[in-house]
Subunit: 326 residues, 2 copies
DNA sequence: ATTCCTTATGTTAGCGGTATCATGCACTTT
DNA sequence: AAAGTGCATGATACCGCTAACATAAGGAAT
């Protein structure tokens, strides 16, 4: 930066201003500075800028897993919006496992992000204390926690599965099961409750078939159907906690020669690309994955700039999409 | 840190050492420092540490898109290895579009990463100059460029599709087509060439069916098959540039009532989870997605630590997996 | 002409750590 | 006894940039 300043015959602070607040530099000077920057190939050091300005222009986000694609649309939504506003994203994986999340959060906070976006609300006490000590805005997403740390963006997982399960009952299915993991994911647990709500309301006995801990794989869905065929032949429909499980189940039904939905109706969750593309097309809950990311980003920026008060909760809703599989 | 130092009754530099090089601090002192850190809930400022030490412990990675899940396994591989070594990942999206990549690279380099991992080799001149000026190790991945910037980790996309296409010819299919995008992705282009190689060697005329620019969607595969049905009814097999397209095609065949592989044999690329789960299970090219990430991370760390010389190229190979769809 | 703005630019002092060199001390070695 | 060695710790000077305040010059208001 000193080089650029010398070439443009200005002081360093003017170079800094030409970069951060160009409107406060005379147009002619700005051109000289820009020419000098281009000449030497100057790439501003954002690390130093962060330290000096106490604003890193970084937002940290914690997702349960990067490998699974569930959150990639959400991350893309955040990323698209944040980059446009000059922010960078740093991603930490690991809240499927409570222990891990603490070390992830320490590292992320070490980078002094201006905001923090979290998935999953069950954080260890120390993690929660660190987050509070950081005194930065926090947005929780993908659910609407009863006792949010700060703000939240999501929808009711429970109401969503309640709706789709009730729909199956209304459609005339006699024995509707719930297939998904029983632990390891707060959102899956809420979905389980939504299913239970619907069964209880309709005077049915819930039937739960458990799958391994998340991240869920297609194979888990296939195995669950195989088990249902042996142990619960009466089941004629099921709500899955994810399209991934549902698609695995769908293929398994094809192998078993089961008609879908004739012999076995399948309802997924997520409305991933494959849900609409499959034959039969999958009935599922459509959730605004990309929009959750965008909205979380918008909210965190609003909080950072002080334009939005703390404690906002945004319910983006869901939509049950009835297709051929039910 | 000053607080911690005072409580532990040492100087700041000793706190710093207790953190970075604990073996160089007397055990008894270290315990005092650790107790003090726990007491005040000290989270070291990695931004300041980066500036002072000129090592950010950050690795930047550029992928064509975050939303698509193709690279998420690779990112997970990198992330797993890097976090274990105390490094953080910052991700930039946007080399499907050449213009975008320059601004992405500027922002990433602004964070002063210790290393850079790139996907895709066609970079604008200015981007390439910036990368060279940054004087940090670079690893390109997912292909083996003829003229790498520094190191590379990948496999031959061309040889992979050459192998699978040749296999289809050997298996007796008469009219094998290639279905994929014709531009926008260097790797897809290399795959196209591999197909062409196989056709030419076997004295066949290549048949290309184009799909929209990446990221590819299932729908594109379905539409391509619909078009093939009308315009090239003689086609009895096809190589797709991705499992995503292939699965879309598979569902489309089910809708058309086409037997797979009887009427139309399908070969994908990538060996995603769905390839094995589908019925019929998908013949495809298995590529070490996770391992590419791990190896790229290992290579970049080796380069950073000066243990590995520049210019290494690691070919992780591929494997053609013959399943039911061909 | 004096005062008061406004605009463009500069000076100084950090931001929170770490590299580097220096220091003090106990223990060998000659 | 003098000198050398290794270890634990400390003092100082930055790292590259920006916040905050200072300054200068020109124009408008009085």
């Amino acid at each position: 930066m000193a080089d650029v300043a010398e070439i443009a015959d200005v002081s360093m602070i003017t170079v800094s201003r030409a970069l951060r607040t160009p409107e406060r530099v005379a147009p002619e000077t700005r051109l000289r500075v820009e020419a000098a920057m281009a000449q030497v190939g100057y790439v501003p050091d954002l690390v130093a800028a962060s330290l000096a300005s106490r604003r890193s222009r970084v937002v940290a986000v914690v997702v349960p897993t990067i490998g699974s694609s569930i959150f990639s649309d959400t991350i893309e939504g955040m990323s698209d919006l944040l980059h446009g506003r000059g922010y960078q994203l740093i991603i930490g994986a690991g809240s499927y496992d409570k222990e891990g999340s603490e070390s992830v959060i320490t590292t992320l906070l070490g980078r002094r992000p201006d905001g923090l976006i979290l998935t999953g609300s069950r954080h260890a006490k120390r993690a929660r204390r660190m987050i509070e000590d950081a005194r930065i805005p926090v947005v929780e997403m993908w659910e609407l926690p009863p006792k949010p740390i700060d703000s939240a963006v999501g929808f009711s997982n429970r109401a969503a599965v309640r709706a789709i399960a009730a729909g199956l009952v209304e459609a005339g299915y006699r024995n509707v099961a719930f297939i998904g993991p029983s632990e390891g994911d707060a959102r899956a647990t809420q979905r389980r409750q939504g299913y239970a709500d619907a069964m209880v309301r309709n005077g049915r006995t819930p039937i739960f078939i458990e799958t391994p801990r998340p991240p869920s794989q297609m194979e888990h869905g296939a195995a669950a159907v195989a088990r249902a065929a042996r142990e619960h032949p009466e089941i004629d429909a099921a709500c899955f906690t994810s399209d991934v499980l549902a698609i695995g189940a769908l293929f398994q039904c094809q192998r078993l020669g089961w008609k879908v939905p004739g012999r076995f109706a399948i309802a997924g969750f997520g409305d991933f690309e494959i849900a609409a593309a499959a034959t039969p097309a999958l009935t599922t809950v459509s959730v605004p994955r990309y929009k959750i990311g965008e909205e979380a980003a918008r909210l965190i920026l609003g909080r950072i700039d002080g334009e939005i008060p703390a404690g906002q909760a945004v319910d983006l809703g869901f939509e049950v999409i009835w297709r051929e599989s039910t």
